[in-house]
């Protein structure tokens, strides 16, 4: 048997609920059928998946960080297998929804958007249900009536091809002693035009959030958790400096002035313990 070469430069990086692996592929002189990705589990390497790309995302890892070890085997067009690559270790990030204390949230962080307004497929009613966009007050508004399951963007003809915003209002008794954290979880987004949005707090622009491309299914399906769900969830968590906040009512705003829609799982402000 002629073994194909093993890949090199395997690296792993942790995100919320996932670990991303990258490596240097074999040269075109080797016709690779695929790369087989293995993860160490209870002392032995188990096949995790196969990919044609020199890139693999290990998803569904939960929201508490756990270290893991990986290696990759090249399988060539004849079915021959390389020696395993050198291993690489990485740890998924712990979510602020686990490590923090909720200050104000809308929706449940559960991989589903079904508790939100217009879910699962009422996007066409957005212009009439939310003619002035979403303006939600924590403690007063209700998710099913006042927080649209989608935040449209200017690429969406059904939402009048213009920018849209979502405002989230919440009370603080005092300026927090430490920075807060934003958790913005999506069940899905447009597959190629997820785009970006400007994040502001109390009128101060914090940064532009870039969204991961999804599967363009979350406008019709609310659940990313059932086996075989076509949705591609993603997770954004950002620290928010304490200087942004004030005692009394605060307003966090997402201004979607780029790309197409995102589909919420939940949004929340968290304090650090």
């Amino acid at each position: 048997m002629n073994r194909p070469p093993a890949i090199t430069h395997l690296t792993g990086s942790g995100q919320i609920s996932s670990i991303t692996l990258d490596w240097k592929p074999v040269s075109w002189a080797t016709v690779a059928d695929h790369y087989a990705v293995y993860v160490l589990n209870a002392g032995s390497f188990e096949l995790l998946g196969k990919t044609v790309y020199p890139h693999f995302v290990h998803r569904g890892l939960g929201f508490t960080g756990v270290p893991r070890t990986y290696r990759v085997v090249t399988v060539d067009a004849a079915g021959n297998r390389s020696k395993p690559s050198a291993p690489a270790a990485a740890t998924n990030l712990t979510s602020v929804t686990v490590s923090g204390v909720p200050v104000a949230t809308v929706g449940a962080f559960d991989g589903k958007g079904s508790e939100l307004a217009l879910s699962p497929n009422g996007y066409a009613s957005y212009p009439t249900r939310f003619p002035s966009d979403v303006d939600y007050t924590f403690g007063t508004s209700t998710p099913a009536a006042d927080w649209s399951y989608l935040l449209p963007g200017p690429a969406d003809r059904w939402a009048e091809s213009k920018s849209h915003r979502a405002r989230f209002r919440f009370e603080l008794a005092a300026v927090p002693e430490q920075d807060l954290d934003l958790a913005l979880w999506l069940i899905d987004s447009h597959a190629s035009l997820a785009g970006s949005a400007v994040l502001s707090v109390n009128g101060t622009e914090v940064e532009r959030l870039t969204f991961a491309n999804g599967a363009t299914k979350g406008s019709l399906i609310a659940d990313s958790t059932y086996p075989g769900s076509p949705l591609k969830p993603s997770y954004l968590e950002k620290p928010l400096p304490r200087s942004l906040f004030r005692a009394g009512q605060n307003v966090l705003e997402l201004f979607k002035d780029n790309g197409s829609w995102i589909a919420y799982d939940a949004l929340g402000i968290y304090a650090r313990e």
């Binding site: 016709v31 059928d33 695929h34 890139h55 067009a77 997820a194």
Partner: protein
Amino acid sequence: MPPPPPPSRRTFLQLTGLSAASVALGVSAPASADATPGRPVPSGAFALGVGSGDPRPDGFVLWTRLAPDPLAADGHGGMRVDRVPVQYEVAEDERFRRVVRRGLALAMAELAHAVHPEVSGLRPECEYFYRFRAGNEISPVGRTKTLPVHGSRFSFATASCQAWYHGYFPAYRDIARRAPDAVFFLGDYIYEYGIVAGGNLWRQGVSVAPEHEVEIETLEQYRLRYSLFKTDPDLQAAHAVAPWLNSWDDHEVQNNYGADNSIYGVPPELFVHRRAVAYRAFYENLPIGLGSLPKGPDTQVYRRYDVGSLARLNLLDNRQYRDPVPVDDADQQSEKRTILGAQQEQWLYDGLRRSRATWNVLAGGVVLTAITDDRIEQWDGYPANRRRLLAAMRDAAGPSVMLTGDIHRHVAAELKADFADPDSPTVGVELVCSSIGSDGDGADTDRYAKDWLQHPYVKFYNARRGYVHTTLTRSELTAEFVNFPYIEADANAEPRVVASFRSPADSPRLEAL
């Protein structure tokens, strides 16, 4: 005196006149190679059938792929990693009493045990029969035909878009019955989507294993998808009845891809790896010449054939070199914009300019005729390239015949030198064949019909499944649009000729018959 040392592999190949590549890639084998496999070949090794393609006046490419267990999940068709010698015979008669060529090719796991023998030295415009043998296994007999040196009549079928999971292929049954001189396949031989019962699996009475339920990505998955589609007996019959001229469209790789751009967010530096295995599987599973074997993520599938002086056939590649989806109207209207790529454009225009054939046939991919500006996947998304091509057609000595598919509809249209000017000359005709299987039963018309029939140069539209049968002579083209009342329930629907057209060679236009 001691015996001379055995020749090195390179020396041996030089002595036999073969290139290492042709041996290694299943085209040929050293003359002294043992025709007996090292171990018995499993029964049913020819379960994927046989085929021929890339015809020339003196020969053609033969194809088969050993796969006794075609749906083995590893994509190797139930074959082990060994090399298997495959013998082939070409005869003038169906009972092989007048064998004119015999040869051997090595089937290897590197190419999923496909072989592509290239046969030459035959007589022009003649019918031939061929078969393969591996160990004790003997293949079905295929029929093929060489191209003419002069040519007075040439018939062909055009087919595209064969979503196996959407229905049966009565169109291929009918094509096999008619035994044309050639079959053009214009793209979407496979689809990459997961096949899901209760979802897109409309072919009644079948089920698929879990490995077919996911979108394909790896070479083993692309190989398996070809195997699944090729298990259809009517598709095998059509391959076995005539030489095929295969082009491609997007689904041989991924929906709506262009060059190294995926519309699903896969970055180009990653997407080329998927393109490489998809192109590899295309070569492995079809009767095409060694010139189309990919090198990494690149290959050349645009190519040309002359049917004597009757017709020049240009197979086009509208995917590998196309510019990305336009970002705005100015981008769409850019004079630099190309769907064929600069090199293929020049090759095509040179070929049209030099052609002295009665007919210039262009085949492959997406619709050329102007329909609506938002159909950016078609040539409507590349108006400057269309103007350049129409100018080249206008300057050519003979009229052009554009053969396309993609839309799952039958359409007949006249090609205007300037689609914006109804009084501009007609430079040729476009015959768009509906799908073989994609979109299931269909209906005679649908909500898209008005987009097409709003134009005076569009003469026919039908939304059922089928194929187009065309005959070229020195004086005229005749085309029959054939469809089927249903395809989802079974393969037994009867063909219906729903429209026929004639186009004179000296004045291209569509006259309904």
